[in-house]
Amino acid sequence: MIELDDIQYRFARGPVALRGVSARVQPGEKIVLLGANGTGKSTLLRILDGLLFPSRGRYTFRGQRITRAALRKRAFARRFRREVAYLFQNPDAMLFNPTVREEIAFGLQQVGADGVDRRVEQWANELDIAAQLGRAPFELSGGEKQKVCLAALLALEPQLLLLDEPTAQLDPRSTGWLIDFLQDLPTTTIVTTHNLSLAAELGARVWILSEDHALIHDGPLQEALADHDLLLRANLVHRHRHRHGDEVHRHYHVHDWD
């Protein structure tokens, strides 16, 4: 479904954000993208969503190479934007319609879908926000906003769902709900997080970006968790002193900024 070949991204006259990333993704896979802050997780998601274009390397989605020129073709852009959905870390960045109903309908109207009203109702029910359909998105709580964004994206029935730190701004109850929801979702998902303790819940396959922006692990999560050197190198765990009565020892700790 996705082929990434030697993707490099460099900011305009700035530093490298991604270095030689190569990977394949099959339909239905659930991938967790791990990395400390500033390692290029969001940049990779933005490349996958066709918002940024690699300075070197190829990105192919369902057999079609994704380039600036390809996305200028309207028919292709229509298909691609429908098939790939991106949930931004800050839900406020996505919400601009006066009501939740219009917010969910917006994308459907964009791609010229039929039965807009029916789909809006269906996804509002699915995400348990039917009672909020008439309200303004900005009045909602963080968790509800996230649900509105998800409904707006999922109503398009995308093939690939990209989620940027989806639990970063959620309380524990909403986090639990979201994890359950994502686990039941048949869509291919790529989720970024720097929260190792959530990674196991979000997918079985893990990509780890190092602090010099290279993909240093692509494989089962358990393998990565067993490799303390790898996690330490990726700045995903830390060690510090522990005192238990008279005994002092050091052991690894999961970074948990959320």
């Binding site: 933005r46 934007r81 601009f96 006066p98 900005f138 707006a152």
Partner: protein
């Protein structure tokens, strides 16, 4: 620290005088000389600064120059010296400003007003954070958009971004106030000259 501030205050003062000078001189050779002088002062940064300056003024100058040229061709007498004068002057001013922007520690130069210094240093940080937020807003829309949007949607999206920035700004202002208070900024020592 004081010497640093004095140096940058003098630099700002010199720049202001230089600007008045550049707008008071109408001799092409002098303005050309001034442009070369700023170029030399910029040293190795000259090509980069020149490029940035050019990008900042080229469109406006092009419009003015071309319409002036067309208008004078229409009248039948072209004053080439005017075209040279205005473009040299603007180039020299613009290059000087970019030169200053790169050299000066504005916060040090504005040491005479505590208020202004705090104002600008908070504003600087906020500008960068808010620009990043705005990129998110722009990308989120692009991610959900095919082709062109209706004007109504564009305005709604711009307004949502602006209102979010205002709301965010007010919240941040509250937090910054608390942080400043917790660090003793509003205690008597500062209160007196807080708004000099």
């Amino acid at each position: 620290m004081i010497r640093h501030a004095t140096r940058h205050r003098l630099l700002l003062l010199a720049y202001l005088l230089w600007v008045v000078l550049l707008t008071s001189v109408h001799d092409l050779r002098l303005l050309g000389g001034a442009l070369i002088l700023v170029g030399l002062l910029s040293g190795r940064a000259a090509p980069r600064l020149a490029w940035r300056a050019l990008r900042a003024f080229v469109w406006f100058n092009l419009i003015v120059s071309v319409s002036y040229l067309l208008a004078s061709l229409w009248r039948g007498d072209v004053t080439w010296s005017y075209l040279a004068l205005i473009n040299l002057r603007v180039a020299a001013l613009s290059l000087s400003t970019f030169w200053l922007a790169e050299r000066i520690d504005l916060l040090a130069a504005l040491r005479f007003s505590e208020t202004l210094r705090y104002l600008l240093s908070i504003a600087y940080g906020q500008i960068f954070a808010m620009r990043r937020l705005l990129v998110d807003f722009r990308d989120a829309l692009r991610s959900r958009t095919v082709g062109s949007l209706r004007l109504r949607d564009l305005y709604r999206q711009r307004a949502a971004a602006a209102a979010f920035l205002f709301g965010r700004g007010l919240r941040d202002a509250g937090e910054i106030t608390l942080a400043m208070r917790s660090r003793g900024f509003f205690d008597e020592e500062h209160a007196g000259r807080g708004c000099a």
